[in-house]
């Protein structure tokens, strides 16, 4: 469909070993989902039809996922997933390292949702979150102290402005409930 010389990011194939792991995970997940589905009551004793049984449709989906995972796993093995790791890395790339920025971003977002929302007013939660997020990512230890403090001050202003603006606009102008 995308007939061009450059592949979009999701079109670049994953290494076969990765596909094999995906197949294993989907197989386990699908099997568990199918087992839970077929354990659901059928209501046939209450004169229900078998094709209206609650577990039928999700069970079918789960079985299809299991079959697709077997296909994916078989294909990955044919492409050399069980060979040594060097053969599974494309274009001499090194194994992916943990991305610190990504981990930090995810951690701060989680802290906002789990640690702040519902415990303090939303405008304050948003202000603290934006301030913390911006300060952490703009922090550079090689900068002079005055510049670092200025960045923190700007982050705090941004946080406060975000908290107040979002609350005012959503609650007062558009009558939307906030957490």
């Amino acid at each position: 469909m995308a007939e061009n010389d450059q592949l979009l990011p999701h079109e670049v194939p994953a290494p076969p070993r990765t596909d094999l792991w995906i197949a294993v995970v989907v197989f386990v997940f699908g099997t568990a989902a199918a087992w839970l589905a077929f354990r659901m009551p059928t209501y046939v004793e209450q004169k229900g039809e078998i094709y209206t049984a609650p577990g039928l449709v999700p069970g079918i989906y789960a079985v299809v996922m299991v079959l697709l995972s077997i296909w994916l796993g078989w294909r990955a093995i044919r492409q050399g997933a069980l060979r040594n790791q060097a053969a599974n890395l494309q274009n001499n790339e090194s194994p992916p390292a943990i991305d610190m920025r990504l981990t930090l971003a995810a951690a701060v977002c989680l802290l906002f949702v789990v640690g702040l929302i519902g415990r303090v007013p939303f405008w304050l939660a948003a202000a603290i979150f934006v301030t913390m997020f911006t300060s952490l990512f703009e922090w550079q230890s090689d900068q002079p102290v005055s510049l670092r403090l200025r960045r923190i001050g700007e982050a705090a202003l941004l946080g406060l402005a975000t908290g107040i603006a979002v609350t005012l606009i959503f609650e007062k102008v558009f009558y939307v409930r906030l957490p």
């Binding site: 469909m1 995308a2 007939e3 061009n4 450059q6 979009l8 990011p9 999701h10 079109e11 670049v12 194939p13 994953a14 995906i22 989902a33 659901m40 009551p41 209501y43 229900g48 039809e49 078998i50 094709y51 209206t52 609650p54 449709v57 999700p58 989906y61 789960a62 299809v64 996922m65 697709l68 296909w71 994916l72 294909r75 920025r101 990504l102 971003a105 995810a106 977002c109 906002f112 949702v113 929302i117 979150f129 934006v130 997020f133 911006t134 990512f137 703009e138 982050a155 941004l158 975000t162 908290g163 979002v166 606009i169 959503f170 558009f174 009558y175 939307v176 409930r177 906030l178 957490p179």
Partner: protein, 503 residues
């Protein structure tokens, strides 16, 4: 026809109030900004604004969302041309020729071409919507549960096959989305599936929080990994589109418009597929192939026209079949349902004026986009340079509000987080998100029509394969699956090439 024009006039008249026009202007502006900023997508914009417009009357709300949608798809070309980074996935094709033109000192001309191509593309798409929607609606009125079942299955399968990337992973994502849609109370006996005793899970997985997570939170996480963006282009030449560009490439415009509408109609493909397909077709047909990738006016025009015409194209199946043609169209469909509209074959019967209102909304949004295309160039350069470290936390706050606001459940915020993680991981593992979202959207439709069809047929599967339209849809579905198997498609192509020689 005169009745139709009169209804269209009434629809236009209804929107010509200062309040509505003010909404049009800020929504289109916001849409262009969202589209221009790398890391923000049209889907995210429409999903977040669905929350904001919750308390508005339905016509006003849908108008705002359409302006955001149209603006965001267009806005991606700004950063594509100025920064060589597509603002939305749909603008990726525009970087190939837009940025080289900017490097040659023709950034203004490039933006003028993208504005004119986008405006004309949307107009073409609106014309197709006006002509095709009544015909498709009439056809769809004859559909029963058997046909609707196959439409849902076909939608998920086609999204997996054609959305790009690995079809096998597309099918896995699609069936995962269908399975997730079964979580919660089922419709016949109110049995709580996969709830494990949790009341929140018994209420099911909300579509909007899932969409905000998959397209909002996942993008925030991806954006934080990216490098800092720097503007290379500082000087902007004239941005006024040249009539000779439009006249010289009129065939390209028509071709790209038609491709864009067609791809927009196909479920789950989206504006990026439309842009790339239009670009590729233009290059194949061009007499100036060597210029493509180096600053081709024709290439940029094709990409922009294709992606813009796919916006009305994606709305056609929403109105006629309740089948979204793209991810933003899926959110738009969810917004229509939230506002009490019932997209699908009966919409033209229950609310015929809405069809004309949609046409009027698209036309007004297109004109507003044209105006901003001239006015917003220099201010937008400054907006593009907002550091991600400051923008992304604000976006995340809006995602949290968006997930919470519709049903006021904190659980939906957790759903958003989970889907953000799922979306991010799936992208890293080379899955396309479109089939997952389509599965989530179509799951309810598929299950209801499957069980209703089985009840009607007394448990027999025969009508699913013997009714004429069902048989065609079933065959298309099976062919799509078989075609995605490389051995089958290669064998079929070899067979076709051999036949003329043996005859």
């Amino acid at each position: 026809m005169l009745d139709g024009l009169r209804e269209l006039g009434v629809a236009f008249g209804g929107f010509m109030t200062p309040h509505t026009l003010f909404n049009v202007l800020w929504a289109t502006f916001l849409g262009i900004v969202i589209g221009a900023l790398p890391g923000l997508t049209a889907t995210m914009g429409v999903a977040l604004l669905t929350t904001l417009t919750f308390s508005m009357p339905h016509t006003e709300a849908i108008m705002v969302l359409i302006c955001i949608y149209v603006g965001a798809i267009y806005g991606g070309s700004r950063s594509a041309i100025l920064l060589n980074i597509p603002g939305t996935p749909a603008s990726a094709a525009s970087t190939l020729d837009g940025y080289p033109l900017a490097r040659q000192g023709l950034a203004g001309r490039a933006m003028g071409i993208s504005t004119s191509g986008s405006w004309l593309g949307t107009l073409f798409g609106i014309l197709c919507l006006a002509l095709l929607t009544p015909v498709l609606s009439e056809l769809a009125l004859g559909f029963q549960s058997f046909e609707m079942f196959w439409i849902a299955v076909f939608g998920v399968v086609v999204a997996g096959t054609l959305a790009g990337g690995d079809p096998l992973k597309g099918y896995i994502a699609g069936f995962l989305g269908l399975w997730i849609a079964t979580i919660g109370q089922e419709p016949h006996y109110n049995y709580q599936r996969y709830a494990f005793g949790f009341t929140d899970l018994a209420g099911g997985i909300g579509l909007l929080p899932a969409l905000v997570g998959a397209y909002g939170v996942a993008e925030v996480l991806s954006a934080m990994r990216g490098p800092t963006v720097k503007a290379v282009i500082n000087k902007i030449d004239s941005i006024v589109p040249r009539i000779e560009d439009v006249l010289k490439y009129w065939r390209t415009i028509f071709r790209s418009g038609a491709i864009g509408v067609w791809i927009g109609i196909l479920p789950g493909l989206g504006e990026d597929a439309a842009a790339w397909s239009s670009y590729a077709a233009a290059r194949r047909a061009s007499k100036e192939k060597e210029k493509f990738g180096k600053g081709s006016i024709e290439g940029l025009m094709a990409a922009e026209t294709g992606e813009a015409s796919s916006v009305p194209g994606a709305i056609i199946p929403v109105l006629t079949l309740a089948l979204p043609g793209s991810a933003p169209a899926a959110v738009l469909m969810a917004a229509m349902m939230i506002h009490g509209l019932n997209p699908g074959p009966n919409l033209m019967l229950e609310a015929p004026q809405f069809f004309y209102q949609i046409i009027a909304m698209l036309l007004i949004a297109d004109m507003s986009k044209l105006i901003f295309g001239f006015v917003l160039v220099r201010p937008l350069i400054k907006i593009l340079l907002v550091p991600r470290e400051r923008l992304m936390p604000v976006v995340f706050v809006l995602c949290v509000v968006g997930a919470f606001a519709i049903t006021s459940r904190v659980f939906d915020i957790y759903v958003m987080l989970v889907f953000g993680l799922i979306g991010f991981v799936m992208r890293e593992l080379k899955f396309n998100m479109a089939p997952l979202i389509l599965g989530l959207v179509l799951g309810d439709l598929l299950e209801k029509n499957l069980t209703r069809g089985l009840v009607l047929s007394g448990g027999s599967l025969t009508p699913f394969f013997t009714r004429p339209v069902s048989a065609v849809l079933a065959a298309l579905t099976i062919i799509s699956v078989l075609w995605s198997i490389p051995a089958v498609s290669k064998g079929a192509r070899r067979l076709v090439r051999r036949q003329p020689q043996s005859g």
